[in-house]
Symmetry: C2
Subunit: 153 residues, 2 copies
């Protein structure tokens, strides 16, 4: 039925989703803060650590992180200041700046990653259960595909 309102089942599902999200991300942020990292910082390190040569162009990184160009510029400022990332210009295209993970950045990343994984497991995956994890993956894959089909990247 496609009325203007939600059915009871839809209502409870939507509410449990939308009310749980802030608490869930707050739990992740709190756990990561013990390493002096925000989730935003951590995700930058993850992207760079998985990239070829531990570096990415700013625009690609911004796209992957769903950050605006200016947002990434300022986020990187912080990471550069503490020495986990450095900027490197590109000889082939002088418009381009690379964000490059430093050894210190990689060390910080490897220090924090196990705790973060444990945090995700403890606050999220574990309560879902093995079957629930599989369901969750399928559900959000559907949502993602639907979003991308409407608003192609």
């Amino acid at each position: 039925m496609s009325t203007t309102w939600l059915s009871d089942a839809e209502q409870t599902a939507w509410r449990s989703f939308i009310t749980t999200l802030p608490d869930l991300t707050a739990a992740f942020e709190t756990d990561l803060a013990r390493h002096g990292l925000s989730m935003g910082d951590y995700e930058v390190l993850v992207f760079l650590s998985e990239a070829a040569d531990n570096r990415m162009r700013m625009c690609d990184l911004a796209g992957g992180l769903r950050l605006s160009p200016s947002g990434l510029t300022r986020r990187l400022d912080g990471l550069v200041k503490v020495g986990w990332v450095e900027r490197a210009s590109c000889a082939a295209d002088r418009r381009v700046m690379y964000a490059h993970l430093t050894p210190a950045g990689r060390a910080k990343m490897e220090e924090a990653a196990p705790d973060h994984v444990a945090s995700v497991r403890r606050h999220f995956l574990e309560p879902l259960g093995t079957a629930g994890v599989g369901q969750l993956g399928e559900l959000f894959a559907k949502v993602r595909d639907h979003l991308h089909s409407l608003q192609p990247v």
Copy 2:
């Protein structure tokens, strides 16, 4: 298995979840912006419209919205400025300020709500399918209960 890393199934589930979320909320924000509302504003109106006498104490509202007291104060400033909410002091306890939904605020809320519901349905519930909606509700209810059992409100 509780290793330091995620299994493939966990990995794909977690990634599809964490990468879809920003796009999903962006879709909701975009749709709501057609009414001049942010999701934050909209949720304030929802809470007040469902409260007794269309009003709530600031501290209760902040708790419900998962906002800090200062965050709510500033968010309310904006809503008061456009006339959708007004502040009212409490005779019984003069520390307390009520946030009170105005008729204009209720009208704005009733104008935007059907579109927002349609947005939620279109971007989220519909791709999930009927069975998926039920699964989602159960999954996040488990996560919520787990979070609250660890960090009681």
